[in-house]
Symmetry: D2
Subunit: 339 residues, 4 copies
């Protein structure tokens, strides 16, 4: 931590701050300049110190945090990229997997129609929602456990793995019977009770960035899971809220290279939620891959016009097949592979 | 709903849209202009229709939703202001109550010191957190039920009512033993499982706006609680996330008059979280009252420099007393009263 | 400046950075911690150094700027509040003046009707636009010099001073014949050519914050004017762009106390542009005064429904009179006066 | 336009609105529903009508604009893509040109070193700033006309075209002697005086999106130029301001496909300003091309650590050469070419 004293701060004020920092276990290095005195505080028990508290001390101008508040999620902890295995399918390696499927599980026929087409394209990770968090209490809320059963059966039939959203910690034991990867939705990114419980599970987690979460907050949420003992966390960029609302959200593509610099965890992009509009999904999927995404989550529906939720952002099967062709070409440019 | 057809849309396309709307139960009124044909769709089962789905129909330029997606929270449902009683203390009437206390319950001594000073100022609603959602897994997480016990005892001693945050639906039954009002934190504003359970409770709810939630989304979250049968919902503006980060959040003061126009529910302002900085709390509390707030939530601590959480945004007791004097003067200008 | 070296940075890397900083004229104070080495750099020619450039040096983790990039606009430069005189009407002192009038000057009859009513309420600063920057090229663009003539005559008749927007530096000499205060519109806040020319003028400037400008950027724009020699700058908060668009902009009321802390310049609020909706203007004007604003800019029109621009955000004369009553009451609470 | 009446609006109110709309030249189509009456208003002189004015009429709930406020910039005006020729180099066709060069022109040696390397990669459009709008009045402000002379000579030597920023309308005549394309910087996007003057010039314009401008506002600014008679406008996405500030701006990659849908004008991406960090430029350049950008603007410097401005976001020559290789591969996937 660096404490910047106000211009003209007196010796008594400076000594007061030094005393406080020392009592917190910091070693102090003092730099006396013409205008400002700086106090470099190294060591100490940083976890319990809120920089704002130090800013309240007499004569302090500003307090600057140096070290990142996350540890296990950071590059320093693990310089090498983490590869997360979802029932044997790796995320974070050379291959860039697709996580595809409908927004909601609606019926076995629907899942079969979609999964068989996806499997034919080499997709190994089947996504689908059984519990749907909906903004309006009057909207379709998902099939629940019945939906998970359908997903499991259909996925098994096609040699696929199941990725589905967990909305509440009480559902975890039940869901362990069906899913290969738990998805934490954007609105639950800071549901710390849920995150803590997922830290105890031996199954990978797909953690979606909240629409107003900074990258640092996303990494801190990952830290909750990692510090519980579960090291298999995949991050997911799915759009942030900005003043521009032609698109539902603004997919923050630059978060991909930023996260690759800050963290060893894989980062997947979700252009379906990131745009909310079907005809923007393919361009943004291509963009995400070109920017270095480790996976792509895409909503696909065989009959989007009849979908019970978010049909407007689902690709049709032919659109998905066309996209796969484009992705395979782009992968070459970034020295990756798309199955 | 109004469907705007593309310029030059053909009769077959127009008829296709009319057929679809009719099948959804809408009555259609067609307006044929020089450039655009408009289809006004009235009646119908609006709840199940996603306007984006209609935008996918052939020849459609844009679909515009007319009616609000919330019902019970809207002014139309109840033209008169709702007054919510918190154990006999009204919110939404002429009197503008203060909800004051520390960020976290730390000890009985702490709560007693703060509550006695607040009670002397006429404050009747005591706030304090027993479960703390913290961004970092390494921060203080609250005393839990022990904290609630302390709050209850201290509040009873001073004739005050208890307002405390519920973080998870499984805690509701336990908390019913201690609290007079459940607070839903900003990060849980769209935790629909929690909202649904609170809809079944016969105790008032303080629902905080999420940092990136629109006013409409806040009202939709209120709708979740109201539609469950609990009509005692108080809204709370506590700052939104913007590009400006000198302050922790930007307190959206204008949300107060906007919500008064759209909804009959009381709206409280929380300038402590809205700014995150002690010296900005009093100006923003005054501003909120002047803009028409029905209550003010203020963090107060007798020793902020020793607070276990968010001390930097807590008022000292003398600062709080000074603020109360200012608020009583401002109340006159808006024909309200502050105790 | 503080340079934070990467964890594990070697002695050679550290020495390289020290050499570079020394060559830039900085004195270096080194703090060697267990994890990080910090280099405090004091003195030096800071103005030419972009911290990002230093971040490119080998082994550097982060570079933190200590001193503010503005000087003349800062509190350190002038601990006492600046009071700006607009033709004898002070802004920044105990009295909080209103700057009121229509969005656009439309005719002498219009200005006379409005100005006479304002003068009767004690308003001394008459605002009105002669050059209108309009988003659409097809909208009314203002009367130009003819409008300024009207304003001047009407203002003189009622003993008022003229505040009007300058859109281009080439208009300054002409406008000097008519206006007592130049307004720089939000979209021109970073029009540096204009700012530089206004720095040479001996007339006060009302500098509006751009809709996406940080407070620091606003102060840097003021610095352009101040460093040119014109010390009579009044800042104006008029709403920032956020994701919430029920209101046109989000009036950042908290900018008022923040700017009072950072700068000695007066800060005025414009709730008319800040909200864009007539019925939100009075609440936000009251809120701004309660938060400490040094002046209030309010759009008023005797016949808003016939206004050529922005009629929707103009107060009617009776609404303005009612607001004045409320403001006089609130002023007491903040130890100010409203005429 | 569609006027939605309040629930329960009376016949007198409805008739009042109809009369007003009729007086504005609209044809009215009335739809009477169970809850709302809708008035579809087609035809009429839309340009002079502010929907907010109609919202003030008695009994009106909401007014919804149907047609876009821009005409010449819209797809309807020109269904086919516009190809803009910059001294013979097309933007908007199959080939995706690079606009590359340093942030600022610093010297002939610098420009020669950079231009010769760029030309060897097939780059035909040389960018460089002679007038630099800087946030701080104490920063390097550019070489002015001397810089333009250098650019022209160096460009001619290598068969390249010159793209440079115009900051003020008074500089246009002088700049016509040197530049092949005028660039309008982000901060000048709504400098309407400048835009109008550029509408009279027979040279192409590169119009950068402001950091807080919506896509619609960008198209309206293009409309200013187009409606003046200059049809050679190229749009440029260069990052918007959001709450995330790890990157300087958030490059809104999705604006590329959105603009392709709404407008016939070419859209270029500027990942250098969009990220502000050298190591993020290549990923975001690849992403922009993959999303369909018609051109890429990249800052390149042979010695970025010595650059007088924005060195931190400039690619080195070897980095640029590597990027070109990647772009050529990605172009195939989107059926484009990069020279």
């Amino acid at each position: 931590m660096v404490v910047v004293m106000q211009e003209g701060a007196g010796e008594k004020q400076i000594q007061g701050v030094i005393d406080r920092l020392t009592s917190l276990g910091f070693d102090i290095h003092r730099s006396t300049g013409v205008r400002h005195t700086l106090l470099g505080a190294v060591g100490g028990d940083k976890t319990g110190v809120d920089p704002r508290d130090l800013e309240l001390l007499d004569g302090v101008h500003e307090v600057i945090r140096i070290s990142t508040p996350y540890k296990l999620a950071g590059r320093t902890f693990s310089p090498q990229n983490t590869i997360v295995s979802v029932g044997g399918v790796p995320i974070g390696g050379k291959n860039v997997p697709l996580l595809a499927g409908p927004c909601s599980v609606e019926s076995e026929d629907q899942m079969e129609a979609i999964a068989s087409a996806l499997a034919a394209e080499g997709v190994k990770l089947l996504r689908g929602g059984a519990f749907k968090p909906r903004t309006s209490p009057y909207s379709f809320q998902g099939l629940g456990e019945a939906g998970l059963k359908i997903m499991r059966q259909v996925a098994d039939r096609h040699g696929m793995k199941v990725v589905s959203e967990v909305m509440d910690h009480t559902e975890i034991p039940m869901m362990l019977n069906y899913v290969d990867m738990f998805q934490v939705g954007a609105r639950n990114m800071q549901n710390y009770i849920l995150l803590k419980e997922l830290g105890k599970v031996t199954r990978p987690i797909l953690l979606k960035r909240g629409p107003s979460a900074t990258i640092e907050e996303l990494l801190l949420s990952a830290e909750y899971i990692l510090s519980g003992g579960n090291r298999d966390v995949v991050l997911c960029e799915r759009g942030i809220r900005t003043f521009e609302n032609y698109t539902r959200n603004t997919l923050d593509v630059s978060a991909i290279p930023v996260i690759h610099k800050l963290s060893h965890l894989p980062i997947v992009a979700d252009p379906s939620h990131g745009t909310g509009l079907r005809d923007k999904v393919a361009p943004m999927a291509r963009a995400s891959l070109a920017a270095g995404a480790d996976g792509l989550m895409i909503e696909v529906h065989h009959q989007p016009e009849k979908a019970l939720s978010d049909g407007a952002q689902a690709l049709t099967l032919p659109m998905f097949q066309k996209l796969m062709k484009e992705l395979r070409l782009i992968a070459v440019a970034v020295e990756r592979e798309v199955q």
